[in-house]
Amino acid sequence: MPRIELINITKRWGDFFGVKNLNMVIEDRDFVSLLGPSGCGKTTTLRMIAGLETPTEGIIKIGDKVVFDSEKGVNLSPDKRDVGFIFQNYALWPHMTVYENIAFGLESMKWDKKEIDKRVKEMLALMKIEEFEKRYPSEISGGQQQRVAIARTLAIKPQVLLMDEPLSNLDAKLRLEMRTELKRLHADTDSTFVYVTHDQLEAMTLSTKICLMKEGTIQQYAPPLKVYNEPNNLYVADFVGNPSMNFVNGRIEKSGDKYEVSLLGYKAEFVPNEEVQGIDGDVTVGFRPEFMKIAEDGKISATVYSTLPSGLETTIKLKIGEEIISSVVFGASDYVTDEELRCNIAGSNVCVFDKDGQKVAMGQLIIR
């Protein structure tokens, strides 16, 4: 079963780098999300794996097969790479019925008529779209089109399934539903999924590994919870999580074997989780909203700037000095605007970033 390997992949248009020196291994049966803002090179990467885009330099392997090698001039066309691809706009052929759309790939592979019929029926049943087989794409809804696109792609049993923002054209409720289906599909089909999205929540909930990109380079390639809890740098920390991580400017000084931090007008001690070296001077301290605890015995005094209850949880924007800090508490609770509160920064996942935005340490903050 296939493992996808990208070695030193670069895609350049003139002076513009779409993807820059990218190295990545996608293990068999992984569900990898390429995550990032628009223009970060994620779709280009996906299209290069499929063979729809030709890299300027590098090597791509799918399974044991080298499908692209710029030095040796190897470049297999998409139909020989044994991949499935689901396009953002589904790319269903408007002049073919649902049935014909799904059967197309099998016909290309010169399957027997009966076999084709059996397989198409199977796919229709799997995606629960049996009743639409005679309709044209323009006559079914977006969600149904999406299912047809998946059925069409899976019909030829590709070893790798590549998806380019497949859920972005669906409404919110349908998107949630399809997320569940996709995860289920991944478990059922035993194939490798590569998934492009700009929605961090989608990447978090679906994938086994997230590859976060920025301007054509990888920022972090790790399982979702690791990306969430231990971001490599400020960019990753900021991109993942909603509401996003709190960042405050602070100053660290080492005195003896202890680290003294001044932030938000308070003094605190920073206890790193692991031994660290050379953190000194101006830093950015980051902590997730769920670690901003509201507690009567809290050391920090704050006023409520505004409250955003969603039912399941409540986001409270707190004003501490001149900074606005988010805090999330479970359940519905309401606070009066401008109410005075006490709070604390809890947990051992407080991140310290240096001036360049690189994470230099993680640990606990003890406010004095």
């Binding site: 953002q88 052929w93 408007p94 002049h95 006559e139």
Partner: protein
């Protein structure tokens, strides 16, 4: 009770007309009704009455009395009807059919190469390929004659092929259906190229990519995906080109006159000249009917349920087909071919104008007399000398330019208001009708269109239009309206109504909304709406040939007269000037405003 109802109706009408878009819509509806229904009824009447002249003596009835003579004479099989109707009809049909097929093949292949492959030198091929469309169709016909005429056929003048290479082509190759088909297809290939290229460019590339991923080979993708998707548009391109070829007049006159090859259009003109007015109008009616049938076929086919609907989403980066080794040869072949029908004709025309004796290409025969000479006894034809000497030519040029500008102002402005009122009333029945009616003039063959208005001007009520500049402007303006209004409708559709609504809330009057907000936003496409009528009018022969009585009146009619009397040097000089003016206008406007002919034609296809 009754009083209240009346009040209600009165208020409704008041509300309806308080919206300027509604007023315009009603206005254009009435104008179109007048401009199409009235002339057509006038024409139908002409089909059944006795006219002065030859008809009166043949039928021996009073002028103006009712008769079925014309219908019987033209349709009941006889030697007369075969030569005057059935054969020209067959010729028109074949010319339209083969011309369209060739144009689509030539234009379609080029469009595919330009949009879907990595062909080199695309820019120069694209520019040159447009030339034949910018040139009047008859210039290519003229070019064909200069190239292939030889001492073995008809007039016996030597053409370039004979003079330089001693090649003599047979008569069927030089005159008649074959060269007409070739010339028409060359002229309309760029048209097909723009339309098909537009479809290919707008067509979502992922549709083809997904087929490739599903293991279909190149041929299967073209056959099963690309072709079926572009088919409706291809068909409508075919029908548009077919109807233009079917109705073409000038090309058959140039290439067919010598061998008595007639199409419906050229036969009709001959009938009018010979005084068979009734039969001429019947031919015009037949042509109009064919145009309407073509439109109906087009509508029916494009309204199918599986018609090409763009599914939302970005049309991704297109991966171009690698032509590999064939790239350079194809590119060079394309360049040679396009040069043959763009630059070479210009050179040939230039050479023609400096020959003392036509057909002699030796340097000793060169003269500038036909440009600037004075007192050319033999070639004078009423001219004082070369065409740059004396006022006749300059006046004719001036009139042509004035006419083009006036037609453009008429068509472009009307198109702007039609676009605005149609789009703002989208989905109402009246709006659909006005949109369809504004397209109607396109379907009427040019020469039949001219005949309609000629008939209109012959009626007592409109006799003041007869032989007037105003009639020319009216005819030209209405004829070119379809392009302008279609373009404006498309551009108005792209501006969301909120932009205008924001201004309505601030109490900005409607004319300010149009000219201060909508027009600046869509200035390029609106300018294209003005550009195409200018260029079309500049090179129009079919439309004005019938209406202009005095051939000295306008440059194009002057050209036709020179050509028919064999003054090739004058004719070539005028042709050359017209082509150059058209090319310059197109280049300048595309540089200055970004509007170009290809864009104007392209807007035709997006519905």
């Amino acid at each position: 009770m009754k009083a209240i109802n009346l009040e209600k109706i009165k208020n409704r009408i008041k509300t309806y007309f308080s919206n300027p878009a509604n007023c315009m819509l009603v206005f254009f509806f009435c104008v179109f009704l007048g401009l199409s229904i009235y002339p057509i009824t006038a024409m139908i009447k002409e089909m059944f009455v006795v006219h002065a002249g030859i008809e009166k003596t043949l039928i021996t009835a009073k002028k103006g009395s009712f008769t079925l003579y014309h219908v019987q004479k033209l349709f009941i099989p006889s030697e007369w009807s075969v030569t005057s109707f059935y054969i020209p009809f067959k010729n028109s049909f074949l010319l339209g059919l083969f011309g369209a097929i060739l144009a689509i093949i030539f234009g379609g292949v080029t469009a595919w190469l330009m949009t879907r492959s990595n062909l080199v030198h695309k820019k120069i091929i694209g520019t040159l390929f447009m030339f034949p469309y910018l040139m009047p169709a008859w210039t290519l016909a003229q070019f064909w004659i200069y190239l292939f005429q030889n001492s073995n056929v008809m007039s016996g003048n030597k053409g370039i092929m004979q003079s330089l290479f001693g090649i003599c082509m047979p008569q069927w190759f030089v005159y008649g259906l074959f060269p007409c088909v070739i010339v028409n297809s060359l002229h309309f290939a760029p048209f097909a190229y723009i339309l098909i290229g537009g479809i290919l460019q707008n067509m979502d590339a992922t549709l083809e990519e997904s087929a490739q991923i599903l293991k279909a080979n190149r041929l299967r993708i073209v056959r099963k995906v690309t072709l079926p998707i572009v088919m409706p548009a291809l068909l409508s391109t075919f029908l548009l080109v077919f109807s233009s070829g079917f109705a073409s007049y000038a090309v058959p006159v140039f290439l067919g006159g010598a061998v008595r090859f007639y199409t419906l259009a050229s036969k009709m003109k001959a009938m009018i000249n010979a005084g068979y007015m009734g039969q001429a109008y019947i031919i015009a009616a037949v042509m109009i009917l064919c145009g309407i049938i073509i439109l109906m076929i087009n509508q029916k086919y494009t309204n199918k349920r599986r018609s090409f609907t763009t599914v939302t989403g970005k049309s991704g980066q297109v991966s171009l087909v690698n032509l590999k080794k064939a790239n350079r040869p194809i590119s060079i072949a394309m360049i040679i071919l396009t040069v043959c029908f763009s630059v070479v004709p210009l050179i040939v025309f230039a050479l023609q104008t400096i020959q003392r004796v036509p057909g002699d290409y030796s340097v000793s025969n060169w003269t500038l007399d036909f440009w600037i000479g004075k007192d050319l006894d033999a070639y004078k034809m009423g001219m004082v000398g070369g065409i740059l000497v004396g006022q006749d030519f300059l006046m004719a040029l001036l009139r042509l330019v004035l006419l083009s500008l006036a037609c453009s102002a008429f068509a472009g402005t009307a198109g702007l208001f039609i676009g605005y009122s149609v789009v703002r009333n989208r989905r109402t029945r009246l709006s659909k009708m006005v949109e369809a009616m504004s397209f109607f003039p396109y379907l009427i063959p040019t020469i039949a269109f001219a005949a309609i208005y000629l008939a209109l001007a012959s009626t007592k009520t409109f006799s003041f239009l007869y032989n007037s500049f105003a009639l020319l402007v009216l005819v030209g303006g209405v004829k070119y309206l379809p392009f302008a209004s279609r373009g404006c409708i498309n551009s108005m559709l792209q501006v969301s109504s909120e932009i205008e609504e924001a201004a309505i809330l601030m109490n900005v009057p409607w004319y300010k909304r149009i000219f201060r907000i909508l027009v600046p936003i869509q200035k390029t496409s609106i300018f294209s709406g003005y550009l195409l009528p200018i260029v079309s009018a500049m090179r129009e022969v079919d439309l004005f040939a019938l209406i202009v009585a005095n051939s000295r009146y306008m440059l194009t009619t002057m050209l036709l007269a020179f050509n028919q009397t064999g003054y090739d040097q004058y004719a070539s000089a005028i042709t050359l000037l017209i082509i150059v003016i058209v090319l310059v206008i197109n280049q300048v406007s595309s540089k200055l405003t970004g509007a170009s002919i290809s864009q104007s034609v392209g807007s035709y296809n997006k519905q």
